[in-house]
């Protein structure tokens, strides 16, 4: 298979998107296995780690690993059981997360293993919470739009303030929440207020946060506290389709709907005093703002375009994969390069979008408290993305010599956050001693976390950890089981002000619909891939 091929200089020109040799051998055995037979491929290596052996799905190149806790273990096994043979196979249904993690391990050029974080759940192509790295020196290695997701560079940023919880209480809390809702365009089909034309959009795609800095939407120090300094240099606006641009031109500075939000939070608990001090959020009761959004319609369109393009190329070349949503292309192929350039441009758009939202949030705060944002100390703590593919260098053990060597990898993180350890060259000076801040968005009404990256995680999961709570209930089930009024009442009892554009989201996004973020974060800490720094709880929520 692909991983045993001798590595050499890149073959040029790469005509076919994928070599024919990677077509997985389809076998009936895979379809007619019983649940017990399926389970024989799973081994629990230690209390937080499941290993899925090669053979679980056709063509696996490496094993797959899932970082678990008891709750998750049960959920995943139930999901696997309900999809096992015996049920109605004709139509409907979806692939269980365990199968999806394993399918990714069957992609050409993958190294070490396909990893799933403890907030994993079934998605499309890659599951949500999947991390996979591909060897850039392997000519067969691939890039997959399904490994990034439709919302390219969806991410979270945290802004601190010098306000205290008591400054934002009672009437003031409602006033602030309403002001945020008025400022930030939320919901389906809402246009942004940032003046844009196609020329501006090209600049946004090329420059990311540097555009916002130029236009005065961002503060110069913001970009220091953002992954990649808010700009991917691989970006090429000419690789973004006209249709995607058309969607992007009206939507800069909009929040979107679904799980995206702006939340005012207070520091609830501090686990690591020193690291919290470095981030400027050193006292319990301090008010912060969390923004969760992505690249909006532009990113979705870029991903769709790439998916259609790669699907066509694979049909042309007669290649079949375990899952059509996993469509991919060799990194060196035209399709692969085109996607990387377009994805980077969409990532830049997402950073610019979050920066414009930050501008609006700062304005809403300064109006409400009649102070300017600088006096409110509204600095960016950090900005992390949890849907992205990046070229990174990682130390890998050479199987022949047993010596570690530095390898250039294309790391796909879908629903997973980068968590680099202390002293890593790619993290800002202020966090060199503490490790990269990792922002974990909780759910409406529960808590969020700031974590820090660890050395162990760097060796174990390519420096990656979880991204949030991860859904546990389906959207329909949430609405059937939960009562709209009751959810609102519970939030009110907790003193949380809320403004939601779509009433449907109140129950769909209720805390009960998600896994417990506390367990997810604790599991990551037990597994050693990140450690807790600060816990935040919401006091005001604005959602699509």
């Amino acid at each position: 298979m692909a991983k045993n091929k001798p590595r050499g200089p890149k073959k040029t020109p790469v005509k076919m998107a994928l070599p024919k040799s990677v077509i997985p051998k389809q076998s009936l055995d895979f379809k007619n296995r019983t649940l017990e037979q399926e389970k024989s491929f799973l081994t629990k290596v230690n209390p937080t780690l499941y290993k899925i052996d090669v053979g679980f799905v056709p063509g696996m190149n490496v094993p797959a690993y899932v970082i678990v806790n008891d709750e998750l273990e049960q959920l995943l096994l139930e999901e696997l059981a309900s999809s096992a043979p015996g049920g109605d196979k004709r139509g409907g249904g979806f692939l269980p997360a365990l199968k999806q993690v394993a399918n990714v391990a069957a992609l050409p050029g993958i190294v070490k293993g396909s990893f799933a974080m403890p907030d994993v759940h079934s998605g499309y192509g890659f599951c949500i919470g999947n991390v996979a790295a591909f060897d850039m020196d392997d000519p067969d290695a691939v890039v997959s739009p399904g490994g990034v997701g439709f919302d390219i560079n969806c991410g979270v940023r945290l802004i601190r303030t010098n306000l205290r919880e008591e400054d934002v209480s009672g009437e003031k809390r409602q006033e602030l929440c309403q002001s945020l809702f008025d400022h930030v365009p939320v919901g389906v089909g809402q246009d942004g207020v940032i003046p844009m034309n196609l020329k501006d959009l090209e600049d946004v795609l090329l420059m990311g946060m540097d555009y916002c800095l130029r236009e005065g939407y961002s503060w110069p120090e913001d970009r220091e506290h953002c992954e990649e300094n808010g700009r991917m240099l691989l970006a090429d606006p000419s690789k973004v389709s006209k249709r995607a641009k058309k969607r992007g031109v009206t939507q800069l500075g909009t929040l979107g709907a679904g799980n995206h939000y702006v939340e005012v939070q207070v520091v609830d608990e501090i686990f690591d005093e020193t690291a919290a001090q470095r981030m400027g959020i050193g006292t319990v009761g301090q008010v912060c703002v969390m923004i969760h959004s992505g690249s909006r319609g532009l990113g979705h369109q870029v991903a769709t375009d790439a998916l259609v393009e790669m699907d066509r190329a694979m049909t042309r070349d007669g290649i079949q994969l375990n899952d059509r949503q996993l469509s991919c292309a060799r990194i060196g192929s035209d399709e692969g390069q085109q996607y990387l350039a377009a994805m980077s441009a969409a990532a830049n758009y997402a950073w610019a979008n979050r920066s414009c939202l930050t501008y609006l949030v700062r304005r809403a705060f300064s109006r409400t408290f009649e102070k300017n944002a600088e006096d409110l100390d509204m600095h960016l703590v950090y900005d992390t993305s949890h849907n992205i593919a990046k070229v990174e260098e990682h130390a890998m053990i050479d199987p022949e010599t047993g010596e570690p060597e530095i390898k250039k990898l294309l790391v796909h993180r879908k629903g997973s956050t980068r968590a680099f350890p202390p002293h890593h060259p790619l993290i800002p000076v202020s966090y060199q001693l503490t490790g990269q801040p990792v922002l974990i968005g909780g759910t409406m009404g529960t808590c969020s976390y700031v974590l820090a990256g660890t050395e162990e995680g760097m060796d174990y999961t390519f420096g990656s950890t979880c991204h949030g709570a991860g859904r546990a209930l389906s959207r329909n089930a949430s609405r059937r089981k939960l009562d709209h009024e009751e959810v609102l009442k519970q939030l009110e009892d907790k003193g949380i002000a809320i403004r939601v554009a779509s009433p449907k989201l109140v129950t769909e996004e209720a805390p009960e619909s998600y896994k417990d973020v506390i367990h997810v974060v604790d599991t990551c800490e037990r597994a050693g891939i990140s450690r807790k720094v600060v816990k935040l709880r919401p006091i005001a929520v604005v959602k699509g």
Partner: protein
């Protein structure tokens, strides 16, 4: 700023930085004023050293006013909600459970009918369809003769649904009815039209934003054809079933 490390920036007195930002903002305001005096230029894109424009301030102020007046959020929190307000069924389709996303299942007595129902299922998830009225102008502008081509049956369904989603994202147009005018399974092309209107926040209910259509477990089960033999000619009539997972 790139060569300025964090520690130096953080230790700069706040007042100093504020004043420089204010100066820049003031300087830019003067520039814009001059530019508008000289020629009729609304924006000066080539200038690389300016703060947010006055135009932006005006736009934000106007948008904030608009939203305050509409009072959307306050109204929604008191509204009496029933399950039937979402996911109305106005055709031969249903919504199936999926952990994070939603699965559409539609069917019909021909591929065309199944596709029509599928498109309605998509829009029914985004807004309350029964509130959509037919506006002839909107329908003519955005919903007429949308045509797509594909390379196989699966991509035909994918492209068809994606096209309608794009029409919505580009224009806000939501069809109340969709009519498939022609389906060709040799060239894999579909031409369809819809009648409806563009979505307005004061008139229509906001449902869930659909990010994209996915290939994940996308299944098309043709009439009288239980195996996946795509080489035999397909009958476009008879019961067809389609399953699609949407990314929410």
């Amino acid at each position: 700023m790139a060569d300025n490390d964090d520690d130096t920036t953080a230790s700069t007195p706040l007042g100093k930085r504020q004043s420089s930002r204010r100066d820049r903002r003031a300087a830019r305001a003067t520039e814009t004023a001059q530019a508008t005096d000289d020629v009729v230029v609304v924006r000066v894109s080539s200038n690389s050293n300016r703060g947010p424009s006055d135009e932006l301030e005006r736009r934000i102020a106007a948008s904030v006013e608009r939203r305050k007046k509409s009072n959307v959020a306050a109204a929604l929190l008191t509204v009496d909600l029933k399950e039937s307000d979402y996911n109305e069924i106005l055709g031969t389709y249903e919504y199936l459970d999926h952990t994070a996303d939603i699965q559409l299942h539609s069917w019909g007595n021909s591929l065309g009918e199944a596709l029509e129902a599928l498109a309605l299922a998509l829009f029914g998830y985004m807004t309350k369809l029964s509130l959509i009225q037919v506006n002839d102008q909107d329908s003519a502008d955005f919903g007429t003769d949308s045509s797509i081509s594909a390379h196989d049956l699966t991509s035909l369904v994918f492209n068809f649904l994606q096209e309608w989603l794009c029409i919505f994202h580009e224009s806000g147009f939501v069809p109340r009815t969709v009519c498939v005018q022609s389906v060709n399974l040799e060239t894999f092309t579909v031409v369809s039209s819809g009648k409806g209107e563009t979505m307005k926040s004061h008139k229509h209910v906001q449902g869930t934003e659909v990010k994209a259509v996915t290939y994940s477990n996308l299944q098309v089960i043709p009439a009288n054809n239980d195996d996946d033999d795509e080489s035999s000619p397909l009958d476009t009539t008879g019961r067809w079933d389609i399953w699609v997972i949407l990314d929410i």
